[in-house]
Symmetry: C2
Subunit: 573 residues, 2 copies
C-alpha cells in the first residue's frame, strides 16, 4: 500500500514537472559602480555583473527566480525590488529597504527567491535612497508557462527599457533634495533606450531646427542607437517598460500603428494607438505590423510628457531587413504629443480595459482611504505629503517591527484616512500642520480597500503635477479617473465591469484616481509615487496586512536596527 | 563597621573625583553630506552636525569620551576612528569597519565610549571606504589632567588640521582605483588648513611667478584664510595634525623658528626647526615665540613633499595684534623644501627623540615581522601588497570572527613573516604570486614585536614612494631608519635609549624603518599606510592579540556578516 502511494506520488510529481515545466532559475549577481557612457558622456553608473542596465531575466510563468545578490559597493547598502511581482508568500523578497528587509551590507549576499506566477513585462530596480536613478535597473520578462498561449499572435519580439539620465551624481542630487534651500534635480540630460542615449547630438539632426549636431557612430559605442531589425509583413510584440526617475514618456513608431495588448503584466482589451504614454513604473506590450515600405527604415521616438521638456527625444531605428541599419529614415521622427496635452493622456488612459475573462473587482469596498497629495514646506524643507504626512522610512524594516511588535520602531498612530472637507485642491497648500512620519495603514487581511488618490495644487500657484503611483505586493483595479475634488457621487462613474488590473496608476493634475484592491497578501507594502525624487521627498504610504501570517523571514533581512538589537543573542562575551 | 567602610569609600571616590577631575564628555553627532566650499568651489562634503571639518573635541587626560554617532547618510554605512587613542579595554570603539565593528547603518546610532588617557594632539576620521577623503575628519585634543602640567611653557595655543582636497567625488575616485585599467586619483586640487583653502587664487599672488590671481575675501566666506592672532613677545603652542588622503606636507612660519615638543601624543626632546614635515596621520606640537617686528604679519605656508607637487601651497596668516589681519605680509611666504629633498626629511625624522623619562622599549624582541611594501598587478588590477598579499577586508569584523572562531570569515593562513632573501628592492617587483588576502598576524599577548617596514621599487622603474604607516591600538618605538634592504646587522644601529613613541612612521624611498611595540592591548588592530588610496589598494596588515580577553563587544558592532548570522536567534517566525 505504502509503496503504491509512493509510486503514485512520484508519477504525479513527474507529471507536474512535465505539464508545468517550471524551473528554478539561479542567478548570481554582483552590484557595483563602474565607468560607463550611457549617453556618450563618461560617468559612474551602477551596474550588475559589469552590465548597465542589469541583465534581462527571462522566465516562464510558474518559475522560481533565485538571485544571489552580492553587494560589491564599498560603502553603500543595496536592495533590488522586483517591480510588478506580487511576492505571494515571500514578502521579504520584495526588495524595499526599511520595509521588507534591511539593506544588504557591502560584501554580503542576500538570496531573493520568489515565484513569477503571471506572464508579463516587468522590471527590477534599486529601492534604497536613489539608487534607481544611479542606474540600478533591468528587465524581467515572464513568458507564458509551457503549453500556455498568449491571447494574441506575434512573430517576434523586442524589449525596450526606457529611462532618464542625469550628469550630476545621485549623491549630489540627494543632498540638494534634502537641503535648505531646496535644490531640485532639474530635467534629465538624456533619455535612454535600453541604457543608451545620445547627449548633445541627434541621430535626426538634419530634420530638426535645433543646433544639435549629427551623431556619428561606428557601431561599437556604448551609446550607439538601439536598432530593431524586422522582416516585412510580420507582427512584432514590443515590450516597453519605464524605470525613469522623473520623466513621463510617450513612444511612437514612424508610419506604424500599435495595438496595446498588455499593461503591467495584465492582458488588456486590444486597442490601437498612434503613440503610447508610459509613466515611470509602467510596462506595456504593443503589437505592430511591418506593413510599410520595406526599402526604408523608420524612427521610434520617445519624448517627455507632463513636464516642460528640456530633454531631447530619444531615437531608435526600426530596421526593415535587408535594408542597412545605417540608412537613416527618410521622414522626420514622429513628434510625440505636446507635453501638456493632458487630454491626449487622459484619452489614452481611458482606453485601457481588462481583457475579457480577467479577474473582476469585488463589487463593494470595505475600507476607503483617500490620499491627498500635497507639496509642503516642513521645517524649511520642501517635501511631498500624503494627508499632511511626509513619509520618512524607519531604520528597522516594518516587516520585522510589525511582526514582532517592536513599537518604538515606527509611529504607532495610523495616518489619516482622509483630509478636511474644506481643503481647496485648486489652491496652494494651507496646511500648517504638515509633519514627517512613519505610520502605517494596517489593513485587515482580505479586506477590499478603495484608495482615492487626490491630486492638488503644488506649492506654486497654478501648478499641479502628474504622479504615477505604484503599489507593491498587489495589482489594483483602476476604477476611474476624475477632475477636481473626489466626491461620493463620483462613485457612480466607477468602472466595475472591466477595469484594468495594474500595479501603477497615474493621477492627473487637479484630478483623482480611484483604485480597488484586496488586501490578501500578508506582508508590508509600499505604495508611492514612482518619481524617485518625489519618493525621496516623502511621497508614499505604507500598507500592512496579515503580518502575523508571515513566516520564515531570513535573518539577514532583519540584521539591522531594533530587530538586530532584539534578536542578537547574549553572546556571553 | 560596614557603615565606616561605606563612608571611607565615598570619601575615597570623592577624592579621586577631585584629584583627577575626570569627566564623561557626552557628544551627539550626526554624519551627513552637505554642500560646502572648502576651497571656494562648491561641492558635496561629509560633515558632522553641519560642520566641516567635524567639531573639535577637547578633553582632559583621564576623561571618557562618549560620542553617540548617528548615521544620517542615505545609503552608506559609517564609522569613526579615533586616531592615536589606544582604546585600552575598548577595542570595539576603534572605529575601523570590518576590523573593530560593523559599519553603522543609515539611520542607526552607535556609541563610541572610550577613555583618553594621555594628553596630546590627536585627530578622528572615517575608516570605511574613502570617507576620510570625503571630508569626515576633525581634531581631538587632550589636555593634561587637572593638577598636571605640560613639560613646557606657552601663553596661548592654536590648532591646525591639515588636509588635501579633490574636486572629483570620492565615489568616482574609488571606482577608478578599482578599475581595469587603473585610474589614479591624481594630485589634490587644494590643500586645506582647518578645512579651508583657496582654489585657483593665491593670497600671495603678487609674490609668485604663477598666473594665480589675487584672492579677494570679505571675511565671511567658507574658504576665507585661517588667521592666527598673536600678541608680541609671547610663546604659542601650535598643534598640527594631518588627515591628508595623499599629500605629505611641510609647514613653515615666515621669520619664525619652531621648537618641536610633541609628536603623536608623546613628548619629545625639544628641538628647533625652520620647517616641519607632517605626513598623513602625524600630529605635532611646536612652540614659537612672537619675537619679530610686531607691525607686520607673517605667512604660515604648507607645501607638498614626497610627490612632485601640482598643488599650490596653502597659506595662513600669523597676525600680530593690533595690526590688521587684512594687511598681507610684506615678505613672500616661506618656501617649503623641494619635494624630493629626502635628506631634509630624513634629517628631520632623525632629530626626533623621546623626552627623558618617557617609557623605554624592551631591550629585546620576541617576534620580528618584516613587511615588504610592493606595488603589484593582481588579475589586471593595480594593488599594493605586503609580503605579496594585498589586504582585502572581510565582511565580518575580525573582532567578532576571531573571538568566536568563525573560521570561514577570513583567511586562516597567517601572512608571511618575511620575504625571500633574493628579492631586489631596487627593481620593479618580480612577484608573480601576488594575491589578495584577509589573513591576520596573530600575536601572543604581551609579546614584544619588531616590525621592519621594507620599502621597494614600485611598478615603474626608478620609483619608490614614501608611505606613512599607522598602527591602531598602540604606540610603537621608532628604533631607526635605514637605506636599502634591511639586514640583521642593521639591528646594531637601533636606538634603544630614547627612541620616540609614535603611532605613525614613515618609510623613505628604497629604505627601511624599524619599529617595536608590545602587543599588550587585547583586540584586533589595523596597521596600514595612511594614504587613503593606498589602503584602498590593499596596503595594510591586521594584528590580533588576546582577543579571548575582549569582553562586552556591543551587539551593534557585530550585527553584520557571519556574526549576525551566528548570533541572531531563531525567532520562530
Amino acid at each position: 500500500m505504502f509503496r503504491r502511494v509512493v509510486i503514485w506520488c512520484i508519477l504525479i510529481s513527474t507529471l507536474v514537472e512535465i505539464s508545468f515545466g517550471s524551473k528554478v532559475r539561479h542567478l548570481r549577481w554582483e552590484v557595483e559602480y563602474m565607468f560607463g557612457s550611457p549617453d556618450c558622456v563618461e560617468l559612474v553608473v551602477m551596474g550588475i555583473n559589469g552590465q548597465f542596465p542589469g541583465p534581462t531575466i527571462r522566465a516562464k510563468a510558474g518559475d522560481t527566480i533565485a538571485v544571489e545578490l552580492t553587494n560589491k559597493l564599498h560603502t553603500e547598502g543595496v536592495v533590488i525590488h522586483w517591480h510588478g511581482i506580487r511576492q505571494l508568500g515571500t514578502p521579504w523578497a520584495d526588495g524595499t529597504a526599511a520595509i521588507s528587509q534591511c539593506a544588504i551590507n557591502p560584501g554580503e549576499t542576500f538570496l531573493y527567491r520568489f515565484k513569477v506566477d503571471k506572464p508579463g513585462t516587468y522590471l527590477y530596480h534599486g529601492h534604497l535612497g536613489m539608487q534607481r536613478s544611479a542606474g540600478l535597473y533591468g528587465s524581467l520578462i515572464v513568458e507564458v508557462g509551457n503549453g500556455e498561449k498568449e491571447p494574441f499572435h506575434y512573430d517576434g519580439e523586442f524589449n525596450l527599457l526606457l529611462s532618464d539620465w542625469w550628469h550630476q551624481s545621485v549623491q549630489v542630487q540627494e543632498v540638494g533634495l534634502s537641503s535648505k534651500p531646496f535644490r531640485w534635480v532639474g530635467e534629465p540630460q538624456s533619455l535612454l533606450i535600453n541604457g543608451r542615449g545620445q547627449y548633445n547630438c541627434s541621430l535626426a539632426a538634419h530634420f530638426s531646427n535645433s543646433s544639435a549636431q549629427q551623431c556619428k557612430f561606428r557601431g561599437n559605442e556604448q551609446c550607439r542607437p538601439v536598432i530593431l531589425p524586422v522582416l516585412p509583413n510580420k507582427t512584432y510584440r514590443l515590450r516597453i517598460a519605464s524605470s525613469t526617475a522623473l520623466a513621463s514618456l510617450n513612444l511612437a513608431i514612424g508610419n506604424h500603428k500599435m495595438v496595446v495588448v498588455e499593461a503591467d503584466g495584465n492582458y488588456v482589451q486590444p486597442f490601437e494607438v498612434k503613440d503610447i504614454d508610459i509613466y515611470s513604473g509602467d510596462s506595456y506590450s504593443v503589437l505592430f505590423t511591418t506593413n510599410q515600405d520595406p526599402s526604408k527604415n523608420y524612427w521610434i521616438s520617445v519624448g517627455v510628457r507632463g513636464r516642460e521638456p528640456k530633454t531631447p527625444q530619444a531615437l531608435s531605428i526600426l530596421n526593415y531587413q535587408p535594408t542597412s541599419a545605417s540608412m537613416l529614415p527618410s521622414s522626420p521622427p514622429p513628434i510625440t504629443p505636446k507635453w501638456n496635452d493632458y487630454n491626449h493622456s487622459k484619452s489614452f488612459s481611458n482606453k485601457i480595459f481588462a481583457l475579457m475573462g480577467s479577474p473582476q473587482p469585488p463589487k463593494t469596498y470595505q475600507r476607503r482611504i483617500i490620499l491627498l497629495n500635497t507639496q509642503n514646506t516642513i521645517n524649511g524643507f520642501t517635501k511631498w505629503a500624503i494627508n499632511n504626512i511626509s513619509l520618512t522610512l524607519p531604520t528597522t524594516p516594518y516587516i520585522g517591527s510589525i511582526k514582532f511588535s517592536l513599537k518604538t520602531a515606527f509611529d504607532q498612530k495610523s495616518p489619516p484616512e482622509n483630509f478636511p472637507d474644506v481643503y481647496d485642491v485648486m489652491k496652494p497648500p494651507v496646511n500648517p500642520n504638515s509633519t514627517t512620519g512613519s505610520g502605517v495603514y494596517m489593513l485587515d487581511l482580505n479586506t477590499t480597500v478603495d484608495v482615492i488618490l487626490q491630486n492638488a495644487n503644488a506649492l506654486s500657484a497654478n501648478v499641479s503635477e502628474i504622479h504615477p503611483w505604484h503599489l507593491h505586493g498587489h495589482d489594483f483595479w483602476v476604477l476611474g479617473y476624475g477632475e477636481g475634488k473626489f466626491s461620493n457621487k463620483d462613485e457612480k462613474k466607477f468602472n466595475l465591469k472591466n477595469p484594468p488590473l495594474r500595479n501603477t496608476a497615474i493621477i492627473f493634475p487637479y484630478g483623482w484616481t480611484a483604485l480597488r484592491f484586496v488586501a490578501d497578501n500578508p506582508g508590508v507594502w509600499a505604495f508611492h509615487c514612482h518619481i524617485e525624487p518625489h519618493l525621496h521627498m516623502g511621497m508614499g504610504v505604507v500598507f500592512a496586512e496579515g503580518v502575523q501570517h508571515v513566516h520564515g523571514i531570513p535573518n539577514e533581512a532583519l540584521a539591522c536596527g531594533l530587530t538586530a538589537r532584539t534578536f542578537m543573542n547574549d553572546k556571553g562575551n
